[in-house]
């Protein structure tokens, strides 16, 4: 699944050796993933089972869905450091709302639907706040989201009284199929992840909006002169990301039925790493959803392999992950 590339230089020069090498760069994450999978199968035969693949894809769904939204923000030249805290706060708020609705005697499915609605609305609202602060408030995205990173997590810690917010048992039972059920042999989160990724790919590559996002990332002034409503497009990328975070939270809450101050810790870095490993430039302008998906899966596969094997000291797990990220980024680096 080659990431869609916008630069035409590569195809023009495809006949030359340099051009072929150039094209190969786009396959960096795919090559990396295939190599990792071969290594995983050699190290433990259980790695290649369907069950294990589904486990890995299901747990990738959270970061993957967030990474799809993050991909838009990064392509437009922005960044969002708050997604982990945002997911945690949304998860906590959703649980509080659902627990609050429980004594009213509504059918559990209605309460679950209410919770899902709250998650999406909150995500969109937080994203909108980010977008407006960045465009209208003229504050760097890095600063805005660094600020809200602290605010979101502090609010969650306050709501949780420092402990954990736990979903009412009856509701947890009604909600759990959203994470644990399967459809045609594939777990629900994987379906949702696939749907979000497909939608993201279509929006980025096949719509005017997607082209505006890429144009703003590559040169904001030029896009402005080309009559692109830069502020609105930029704001909408943050709203899109917020909705993605809300969607990821929908899947997260039924997994363990609780939110605590450690929920979503460092998810922002995992999502950003997935986007960058997938071939999107941190400076913006161009990127690919397919690459992002491969990047997210790759990150999960590394920790899965480390859990399935015993070859290196457990203290070095993070080092292996860091090394693979750097190697894959090297394989798909662009020429200056």
């Amino acid at each position: 699944m080659p990431p869609a590339r916008t630069d035409t230089a590569a195809s023009a020069a495809a006949s030359t050796w340099a051009g072929r090498w150039d094209r190969l760069h786009g396959f960096g994450p795919v090559v990396g993933l295939v190599l990792l999978c071969i290594a995983g199968t050699l190290l433990n035969s259980e790695f290649a089972t369907v069950d294990n693949a589904m486990n890995v894809l299901t747990r990738t769904a959270f970061i993957g869905i967030i990474a799809v939204g993050m991909c838009f923000v990064i392509i437009s030249g922005g960044i969002d450091l708050s997604v982990g805290s945002m997911a945690a706060l949304i998860a906590g708020s959703v649980i509080l709302v659902m627990n609050g609705a429980a004594p009213r005697g509504w059918p559990p499915m209605a309460i679950v639907a209410l919770g899902m609605g709250v998650a999406l609305v909150l995500g969109a609202a937080f994203g909108l706040a980010h977008g407006l602060l960045i465009t209208r408030g003229r504050i760097e995205p890095f600063i805005v989201t660094l600020g809200t990173l602290g605010i979101f997590r502090a609010c969650l810690t306050y709501f949780a009284d420092g402990g954990a917010i736990t979903l009412d048992n009856a509701l947890a039972d009604a909600y759990s199929p959203v994470y644990y059920a399967s459809l045609l042999g594939m777990p629900v989160p994987v379906w949702i992840f696939a749907a979000v990724a497909a939608a993201g790919g279509v929006i980025l590559n096949r719509t005017a909006y997607g082209r505006y996002v890429q144009a703003i990332g590559s040169n904001e002034q030029v896009a402005r002169y080309a009559a692109v409503n830069v502020d609105r497009v930029k704001t909408s990328t943050y709203v899109l990301l917020g909705v993605c975070v809300g969607t990821a939270t929908l899947l997260y809450v039924p997994r363990l039925g609780s939110a605590s101050p450690t929920t979503g810790l460092l998810w922002e870095l995992e999502a950003i790493a997935a986007v960058i490993v997938g071939g999107t430039a941190l400076r913006g302008g161009a990127g690919s959803i397919a690459g992002t998906v491969v990047g997210a899966v790759l990150l999960s596969v590394i920790s899965n392999i480390l859990n399935l094997t015993n070859i290196i000291s457990v203290y070095l797990n993070a080092a292996v992950q860091g090394l693979v990220i750097i190697v894959v980024a090297f394989m798909q680096r662009r020429r200056p």
Partner: protein, 319 residues
């Protein structure tokens, strides 16, 4: 209480007590420096510190307790300076955010004549403290090992989950494996880091379940991790696991134990953040009597079972 009011109050107390119990009129200004509530356990620490302030200030009118929570080692060092210069404490109870980073600042406080009790995470130089109060990490590893060995009749497969790589995690793990050496027919299949976190524990357990076809018991080494472990077992619909042993006596787990609502949860081991309360109480009461604490006090970790669970259930605490 404003400084002026407290000063007047202590003056008044000094007059009433004058000549009768000169010793008791000594005022103790105690500062408490602890990590902020970033996860359930530290939330418990904060809860018990505030509880101690409430109870002890009520019981001893000439005691003042100031509680400061810090989000990191540098912040805690700054707070320490504020406690010394602005609050003018004469006694300090500190749960150091990091052992090495806080050693110098605490040593400076002690050099200024402040009585120092260090809780749980020790300093790298023990001469910087007057007393040390901690939970029993060795027992935290030993008690589950002994329980599991007995419950499995000395035979079976165990997987373990570890916390964040730290010295106390090593201490617990070593104590656990030390006991298991006596049972050659018990195999510890693997021990990976779940980082005292539900999500990580869930993933690690999922992968254990993929990797090992027969697991008899899980030492989850923490109740938060046990929650993730239970979910992973439930999802995989595995019936081979007989026991999941958590630890630290989180209130939801103690409740599960009391109600007998999960057949996998049969016992727990206490490592309650309540030792923060005990440390402040011991220090304050000793200082009010102008006495010293023993150099080291270990708050024992005890096996919690259905029978004694009630004593370890604190529904008001966040942990």
């Amino acid at each position: 209480m404003t400084p002026l009011r407290s000063r007047l109050l202590s003056l008044a107390l000094a007059f009433t007590a004058f000549g009768v119990q000169a010793q008791q009129s000594d005022k103790v200004n105690l500062g408490v420096a602890i990590p902020a509530a970033t996860h359930a356990f530290t939330a418990g620490i904060v809860f018990w510190a505030n509880q101690a302030k409430k109870d002890l200030e009520k019981a001893h009118p000439n005691l003042k307790v100031t509680v400061k929570t810090a989000g990191g080692a540098p912040e805690q060092a700054n707070q320490l300076q504020d406690l010394l210069s602005a609050t003018k404490i004469d006694t300090l109870v500190i749960f150091p955010f990091e052992s090495a980073a806080l050693t110098k600042p605490v040593a400076q406080a002690k050099a200024k004549g402040v009585y120092v009790t260090v809780v749980d995470r020790g300093l790298t130089d023990t001469s910087a403290q007057d007393a040390y109060v901690s939970g029993d990490n060795t027992a935290f590893g030993r008690i589950p090992a002994e329980y599991l060995a007995k419950a499995l009749n000395g035979k079976g497969n165990i997987v373990a989950l570890r916390g964040i790589p730290t010295t106390i995690d090593n201490e617990r793990m070593n104590a656990f494996t030390e006991v298991m050496k006596k049972y050659p027919e018990i195999k510890i299949l693997d021990a990976k880091h779940g980082n005292w976190n539900r999500d990580d524990a869930f993933k690690v357990m999922q992968d254990y379940l993929t990797r090992f076809k027969q697991i008899d018991a899980v030492w989850a080494a923490d109740d938060d991790m046990a929650v993730g472990v239970l979910k992973a077992i439930e999802q995989a619909k595995r019936k081979d696991i007989k026991i999941v042993f958590g630890g630290a006596g989180m209130k939801q787990m103690v409740k599960t134990l009391m109600d007998g609502s999960n057949p996998l949860i049969k016992a727990n081991v206490s490592y309650s953040p309540k030792f923060m309360y005990d440390a402040i109480k011991l220090t304050a009461e000793a200082r009010l009597k102008n006495e010293k604490l023993p150099p080291s006090t270990i708050i024992p970790s005890v096996l919690i079972t259905k029978e004694n669970a009630k004593q370890y259930y604190f529904p008001d605490s966040p942990f």
